[in-house]
Symmetry: C3
Amino acid sequence: MNVTVTDLTNELLRSYAQVGGINHLDGKNLPSKCAVVAITVDLLRLVFPGFFDDKPLHSSELKVETTALMDSVLGRLEDEIYKSLEYAAPEGLAKKDLRPAAHQTSVDFLRQLPALREILQTDADAAYRGDPAALSKEEVIVAYPFMEAIAVQRLAHELYLKKVPLIPRIMTEWAHSRTGMDIHPGAMIGSRFFVDHCTGTVIGETCEIGDRVKLYQGVSLIARSLSGGQALRGHKRHPKLEDDVTVYAGATIMGGDTVVGARSTIGANVFLMQSVPPDSLVLFEDVKVKVMNKLEHRATKAGQI
Amino acid sequence: MNVTVTDLTNELLRSYAQVGGINHLDGKNLPSKCAVVAITVDLLRLVFPGFFDDKPLHSSELKVETTALMDSVLGRLEDEIYKSLEYAAPEGLAKKDLRPAAHQTSVDFLRQLPALREILQTDADAAYRGDPAALSKEEVIVAYPFMEAIAVQRLAHELYLKKVPLIPRIMTEWAHSRTGMDIHPGAMIGSRFFVDHCTGTVIGETCEIGDRVKLYQGVSLIARSLSGGQALRGHKRHPKLEDDVTVYAGATIMGGDTVVGARSTIGANVFLMQSVPPDSLVLFEDVKVKVMNKLEHRATKAGQI
Amino acid sequence: MNVTVTDLTNELLRSYAQVGGINHLDGKNLPSKCAVVAITVDLLRLVFPGFFDDKPLHSSELKVETTALMDSVLGRLEDEIYKSLEYAAPEGLAKKDLRPAAHQTSVDFLRQLPALREILQTDADAAYRGDPAALSKEEVIVAYPFMEAIAVQRLAHELYLKKVPLIPRIMTEWAHSRTGMDIHPGAMIGSRFFVDHCTGTVIGETCEIGDRVKLYQGVSLIARSLSGGQALRGHKRHPKLEDDVTVYAGATIMGGDTVVGARSTIGANVFLMQSVPPDSLVLFEDVKVKVMNKLEHRATKAGQI
C-alpha cells in the first residue's frame, strides 16, 4: 500500500474535526505555554538581575535594560492574561472589559516585584544558613533549584490570588519540570522558607506554611482522599505547618484539618494524618531494621529482596 | 609546563582511538538524541495541535501547516529509524531492505496518530476528573507534566511494538527528564490513565496496566530482583494492575507474578510483593507514629533525628 | 491610577539599590549560569564525541572539530573560573595571580578528560550489565539520564578538588534538573557505578562510594542532623559505602560515621543510621501489609486512605 503524506494528513485532519483537544482553531485561544515560559524567565531576570542572563549587567546599562525588559514583559503578560480571561473569565466580567482587566492585572502584578524580591531574599538567606554545603547567598541564587522553584511559585501565587486562570499553573509546572518539586500556585508560604534537594517534594493547593519552615526532598503535603475528585474543588484539603517546623525526607503529611504545631520536627518517612501540638517530635515507632549475614541467610533460604 | 590546545587535543584523540564510546566516526551511526527529541516535539504538535506551538493555529492554515509538518516528520523519522535499524537490525532483515523497512515503519506509525489522539483524550479526561485542582481538560493538556509523559510513552510504545531499536527509549527518557516520571516504552497501559504529580513514579518494561488506573507520585512498579542483570532481558519482570486500581504515593509493587486485582486500592508507602484479589484494600499494618514533646525529649537524651 | 512602565521600572530600580541579590553591577561578577551550562554541554561533547551532537562525526573532520571545540572550551572555562576566583579566591592568591591560576586550572582540568573517559566507560558498562532493559552500551550513553548525571558529576568533582568555587555546583545542579538525581560535586565515587532510574536519589557532599556500587531511585545518602547548619561545613557528614554494595529504591542511609561494609545489600525503604559489617543484608523487620476486602471494610467504617 502506498500511503502518501496527503493521506496521512487527511486522516489526522478528520481526527482533529472529531476528537477535539485542539488549541483553538478559531474563537477563544488558550494562553501559549511557550509564551508563558518565556515571560516567566524574564520575570526571573527582573527579580534577580544578572543571575539569569548570559553576562552580568553593568550599572550604566541597568536603567535602560530594565525599562526595555519591563515594557516587553508588560505587553506580553497582558496578551496572555487576556487569552486566559477570554478562556475562563471571572464571573461578572463582560467581554469588552477583558482587555482593560488584563492590563490592570498585569500592572498590579508587576508593582509587586519589589516586595517579592524582599521575601525571596529571606528564602535565599534561609537556604544559605540551612545548608553547610552552601558557600554564599549568591551561590544559592545562581545554583540551587530551590530558588527557581520558590521564585516561580511566589510569582505565580500573586497571579493565582488575582484569579488569573491557567497561567499560574503553567508557570509552576514549568518550575516543577526543572526542579522536581511540585508546589501548587495556591499554596500560602511564609518567609525564610527552604527545601533542601527539592526532588519529589509535593505541596498541595490549600497548604498553609508558616515562617522559617524547612523541608527536605520527597516530602508530601497532600490531600487525604481524592476519591471526591472535582467535587472537592475549592475546599481546604491540605495541611497547615506553623512557624519553625522542620520536615525530614520522605515524610507525608495529609489532610485539610491536620495542623503541625510551631517548632515541631517530623522525622524522615513519617506518615502523619493527625494534628500535633507545638514543640512535637514525631518519629516512626519501632522501626527496626534486621541486619543479617548474607552468606548465612543464603544458606537458609533463597535470598529475595 | 606550557600545554597547548594542540597537546590537549592530541591526548584526547589518542583516548578516542583507544577507549571507544564514540558515535561513530565511520560506518554505523546511532540515531541522534537531538534529532529524536525534535521529532518527538513535532509529534506532540501533531497530536495536540496548537498546544505546543508559540501561537494558536487558525483553521485557515490548519491543512497547509499540518501537511508540511507531517512531511517533515515522516522524512526525519525515517532517517532516524534507518540509523537505528542499521545499528541493530531485526533478525532476517538484509542491509538493502533497511531503508524500505524504515520508510514503511514510519508510515505505519504515523497512521496511528488518530487512534493515539483518541486514547490520549481519555487520559486528559481522567486527569481532569481526578484532580480537584484542575480547571478544565485544556488546562490539563497545556500544563500537566503527566500529559507530556503519557503522550510520549504511548507514541514510543508503538515504535517499541514495531521493534524499532533505541529510539523509543530516547523518547521516554526525554519525557522522564522533563516530568520526573520514568515509564518504559514497553509498558502496556490501558485507557483513562492518570498519574498525579508524577515525580519519582517508575513503571517498568513489562508492566501491564488496565483501564481507569490512577497512580500518585513516587509509585514504583518494578522488578523483584535485578541480580540477574542481562539474563532477565525479555522476561516478564514487572507487576500487573487490573482495571480501576488506585495506588497512593510512595507505594512499591514488585515482581512479574504480582497481580493487583480489579478495583483494589494500595495505600501510601505500602511495599507489596504478593498478588491481591479484586476489591482489596492494602495498608501498612500497625504503622504507629510516636509523638513526643520535644523539650521533654531533649531533657532525657540528645535529640537525634 | 495610570501606572506607566517608567513608574514600574523606577520602583524596581529602587528595590535593586536597597535589597541586593544582583549579579553584580560593578566590581566582582559571579560566573554566568548560562555560560557554565554551555561549557558543560561542550565538555560532554568532548567526552562522548558524536553522542551529544546533532549529527554523528566523521573521522575526516574529527581532528579539526575537536581542536576547535577544545580551543573554545579552554577560553570560556578560563573566563568563568577567573570570575569564580575573583568572587571567592582561595587563601593566599593575590589579585594579579587570578588570571594565570584560572588558565592553569583550566589546562590541568582538560588534561584529565582522557582519564575521565576511561572511568565513564566503566560506568556505561555497569549500567548495561545491570539493566535487562538495556540493549547495548551505546543505548546507555545516548539515552540514560544516569550517564549524563555521572559524567557531569565526575567532571565537576575534578574542579571541586581543584577548589574552584561555585562552578562545580552549577554544573551538578544543571544535571540534577535534567535527571532528577542530586549528586554533590564533592562526593567521591568509585568505578563501575550505576544508579537505575535516578529520580530522587540524593548523594551528599562527603559521601565515599567504592567500586561496583549499584543504587536505585529514591536512595538518600545524607547527613544525620542539619541543625548545625553552616557550622558543619567541611566536616564528614555523609555515609561511606564500600565496594560492591547494592542499595534498593527508597532506602535512606544517614550519618558521617555510618559505613556499609563491602558486598552488603540494603533493602528497599530501609532507614539505616548505623554501620553494618561486610556481607550484610539489611531489611525492614516485620513490615506487614494488611489486605482487606474493600467492600467489607467499608461496611464497618468509613474507608479512609
